[in-house]
Subunit: 292 residues, 2 copies
């Protein structure tokens, strides 16, 4: 499924009508520090955003609000409620009422069935549908290692450094996770921070659809942990490389193994751990045992 999606990408993708309604990312509030001194600190925004599709209420996300239109498109994509970006006619965010109205060409796919199923699986993987996704993981096969692009160790170091420079909200306010998509150059294609990991990855999925970007030769980076949900979403986007400076969970590991994903965890400075690589990673930097 992920393959056929990426196969439909065209050089001039059709774009739905979109509002441009990013919220301010941080807000200043009064603080007292350990010396008893008054001051102010930046804190990250967190706003409810209720999704209506063709006037039907679907659910409410809590988001920083940096890329709400792409977030909602990516959410519908990753939940497989919409099959193609061509089915999305318009996405209009209205922060006056904390709502987003989505209009589709053909309605949502199996909405009632999926809503019923979600009732059973809510709470999984930070609030998004899980059972459905797991059921379909068998149908996902990442590009064969033989034909797949390679990730070089030097590229890994370069892209980690690019992320570090882009984390503007995290540096100011903390309390957010960042996700990024890279080419193997490495070029930073997208970078999104949000109060929820699942939102940041959904927003990137939305941007990829909007721009007709194929995931099969890309690297997905996240500052957050590699849980089952994160791995499933990367696999759905067809991305063969998943990198994090945090750790991973057993289920994330097992799903990555099943779909043949190259996983890199604990990537901090020169250190990293490579999990489950089917031959795509290339060691091209000599690191002495006592190097940082």
């Amino acid at each position: 499924m992920a393959h056929s999606e990426s196969g439909t990408a065209s050089p001039t993708p059709r774009r739905p009508q979109l509002s441009q309604s990013a919220r301010p990312a941080t807000f200043n509030v009064a603080t007292i520090n350990e010396q008893g001194q008054s001051g102010t600190a930046a804190i990250a925004g967190e706003h409810p955003l209720t999704i209506y599709v063709d006037k039907r209420e679907i659910l409410t996300l809590m988001t920083l609000g940096a890329a709400p239109e792409a977030l909602v498109i990516g959410y519908l994509r990753n939940q497989r409620l919409v099959e193609s970006i061509d089915d999305v006619l318009a996405v209009q965010v209205d922060w006056e009422v904390n709502a987003v109205s989505v209009y589709t060409r053909n309605g949502l796919v199996d909405l009632d069935e999926k809503m019923a199923h979600r009732t059973k699986t809510t709470g999984c993987g930070s609030g998004t549908v899980f059972g459905d996704l797991m059921a379909d993981i068998d149908t996902i096969h990442l590009p064969d290692t033989q034909y797949s692009p390679r990730l070089r160790q030097s590229t890994l170091y370069a892209l980690s450094e690019l992320v570090r420079k882009h984390e503007t909200i995290y540096k100011q306010a903390g309390a957010v996770h960042g996700c990024a998509l890279f080419s193997t150059t490495p070029e930073l294609l997208y970078f999104v921070e949000d109060v929820g990991r699942h939102n940041a990855v959904d927003a990137i999925a939305g941007m990829m659809w909007l721009d007709g970007v194929d995931g099969s030769d890309k690297i997905f980076y996240t500052t957050g942990r590699l849980t089952s949900e994160m791995v499933i979403k990367a696999a759905q986007m067809d991305v063969p490389f998943l990198v994090s400076r945090s750790g991973l969970t057993q289920m994330g590991y097992e799903i990555a193994k099943k779909v043949g994903m190259t996983m890199i965890g604990r990537a901090v400075n020169k250190h990293f751990l490579l999990f489950n690589d089917p031959g795509r990673f290339v060691f091209d930097v000599v690191i002495a045992a006592n190097d940082e």
Copy 2:
């Protein structure tokens, strides 16, 4: 509401029949490090656990599985599906089928209404009901500052140190958040790590119910961010002090202000930021400007 709950606590609380089914917290998997050397690393467990109450399927949580019985009781408490621990007759976890069977005295409170509502609010605050909780936040009032216990700066430092010593899973495998409940002594009453922040706080809510522990003179500590969900849950447990070494979000801040909660963020080494204290915090340590 939180008050009347804590008011029912008795010195010898009634305990439901509980299984004792903790899962192993970590698993070893094969890795290759930055020098190309093979090795193994511990990763955190992550398991689906489907909750059945009186034989009806409610939802599936993803959990480390360290305290599944308390987690499920705390989940039902924090969603206000059960009004008192006395209503819980038995909690039986069976990892063979990744399921937990809960038996209640009187069934769940407004289950159908809440399930319908949840359908609308899924995805909020890491996967748990949100709209309902927010609606009732107006009814929660934390203990008046005048009669409330105080938190001393020296106590804050002591309890942060106690947490640091207890983070066994985090130190081994990362990818988990820890939550703890302290008395003002400070004595560490409970400490739970889980792959989800919301699970760790729910498990502590369950333990408090099982042991008849009142929150109104306690301190809640979390390694994770102070989002709306975390603040709402602490407020429901009647806890006036919420401490984190991470940052906070705007909505977490606003809810804390509304209920009169003393919030401390970015508590690392001697540093911290005090947000929204209505007079409960006592500075009793002299910190020079260039101290760590």
